[in-house]
């Protein structure tokens, strides 16, 4: 049974259709990418998966649970990194981890996490004083602190320099290596190509293609995922 199963998901805000019949499945242990331009419906889909939003129609199963009905049960088993979510500037890194650890029934060891995400030297630093890459590492650590089975990472490397991006990718691979399934939301093709086992390409609220990066390149007859993305989303217009 897939870890995530989405069938014909629909969501509108007033007259604007954000998600227009999306279906995909994510298997346990894979890194699955949701690719698309801004406004393609990625974030709304992910918010429905987390139970933050109620879908208009369609079926969603995450870890065998219905997010809308079993949100609290789901939050204990899913770690989340949100796009553009900050912490209070005067909160220290270790304090943030310890605070979030207290929210979960079976949290990870804070010291182990600090080491794994290379934050040991910054454990007493204020969040507001960290660099962009360090802040992202903290938000990944917070997504992992509850020992989740699924980690949802939204626009993980937006605004990071090339070194910090590569460093963050290495960490995501490390997360999967510990058995956590990763749902990665991104609009960077190189990131998806490098990290994802399979991707779903979103365009105007629909999934226009699903498969491994290699399959998508072959389908589109292009040599890079970037070109494949442009070809696939253009044909859907």
């Amino acid at each position: 049974m897939p870890l995530i199963e989405v069938t014909d998901l629909r969501k509108s805000y007033g007259s604007r259709v954000a998600v227009d019949g999306v279906s995909f499945t994510v298997e346990r242990g894979e890194i699955f990418g949701i690719l698309g331009t801004n406004g393609a419906g990625k974030t709304t889909t992910v918010e429905c998966l987390q139970g933050l939003r109620q879908a208009d129609s369609g079926e969603i199963s995450v870890l065998g649970l219905d997010p809308a009905a079993d949100r609290t049960a789901l939050t204990r088993r899913v770690g989340v990194q949100l796009q553009e979510s900050q912490l209070p500037a005067k909160l220290r890194v270790r304090e943030a981890l310890e605070l979030f650890a207290s929210f979960y029934p079976d949290p990870a060891d804070v010291d182990v996490l600090l080491d794994r995400l290379d934050l040991r030297d910054h454990s007493r630093a204020y969040f507001g004083k960290l660099s962009g890459g360090q802040k992202q590492r903290v938000s990944i650590a917070l997504a992992l602190v509850g020992n989740p089975e699924l980690a949802i990472l939204d626009e993980l490397t937006t605004g990071l320099d090339p070194h910090a991006r590569r460093e963050t990718w290495r960490l995501v691979e490390g997360v999967r290596a510990t058995g956590v399934t990763v749902l990665l939301v991104t609009h960077f093709m190189d990131e998806a190509e490098r990290l994802c086992d399979r991707v779903a390409i979103f365009d105007a609220g629909r999934v226009v293609a699903t498969g491994t990066p290699a399959e998508l390149r072959a389908t589109a007859g292009e040599s890079t995922l970037d070109d494949a993305f442009v070809t696939l989303t253009r044909s859907a217009l």
């Binding site: 933050l52 609290t72 939050t75 553009e84 979510s85 900050q86 209070p88 909160l91 310890e98 929210f103």
Partner: protein, 244 residues
């Protein structure tokens, strides 16, 4: 440590690390009272005020300053900032409801308000011989009702505002009349009769505070109105509150 205690401990640390509001909330009311008392004539019995001294009438007004600042500036600012930064949204993805964060904020502000008011009473007593409240329990009850109604307005401002800046703007709309009717800009005794009577019922309830203090007894209707403000304010804040 349970989750709410952990959140409250963390929020307290954060509050102390940006100590402006804490220091202002605790020290400012007492400092204002000291300054006012230093004005010649403030500590002399005044026939115009029925034999009371102006300083005695000023103490409740100073309490208004303290409550208004915490309730209408500090609370909406803190909550709106958390929403703006996505902290409330981030919390909503954990097993802990963001309402715990609001609870912690309210608790911290209640403690700061009580500390500031306690200090004010002490300073007034020591420096200017202002007697302690004659009906301490009634005074405390009025104070708590006034505090809850003010804090509810602060949460309502935070609820309907999208940003910290806007919350400050909304709160200012409540801040100015509260200060005015509370006798902060002009002693209440100098306000026209009709404004004084309106002010009797405006949170945080300067008149009932004063009545409980000097011992003339509090009119139940004033307490009922205060309680009404508290209930309606809380209900509206809960109804309109957005986590993102």
């Amino acid at each position: 440590m349970n989750t709410f205690a952990k959140i409250t401990a963390t929020e307290t640390k954060l509050f102390l690390r940006t100590p402006f509001m804490g220091i202002a909330g605790i020290l400012l009311p007492a400092a204002v009272l000291l300054a006012v008392g230093a004005i010649p004539g403030m500590t002399e019995p005044s026939p115009a005020a029925g034999g009371y001294r102006f300083i005695d009438a000023w103490v409740p007004s100073v309490i208004v300053i303290s409550l208004a600042m915490l309730a209408l500036q500090s609370i909406p600012g803190a909550v709106a900032t958390y929403r703006e930064q996505g902290v409330l949204r981030r919390l909503a993805t954990t097993p802990v409801h963001p309402v715990n964060l609001l609870g912690a904020q309210l608790l911290i502000h209640v403690v700061v308000a009580l500390a500031g008011i306690g200090l004010t009473l002490g300073v007034a007593n020591v420096a200017y011989d202002v007697p302690m409240p004659k009906h301490p329990l009634l005074f405390l009850l009025t104070l708590l009702l006034g505090m809850v109604s003010m804090f509810a307005f602060g949460l309502l401002a935070a609820a309907i505002a999208r940003t910290a800046k806007a919350a400050g703007g909304f709160a200012l709309i409540a801040f100015l009349p509260t200060m005015f009717f509370g006798g902060v800009y002009l002693p209440r005794a100098l306000l026209p009769e009709v404004l004084q009577r309106i002010g009797d019922y405006i949170p945080p309830g300067t008149q009932p505070l004063q009545d409980a203090w000097v011992g003339t007894g509090v009119q139940p209707l004033q307490l009922v109105v205060l309680a009404g403000f508290a209930v309606i304010g809380t209900a509206l804040a809960a109804r309109f509150f957005r986590w993102e």
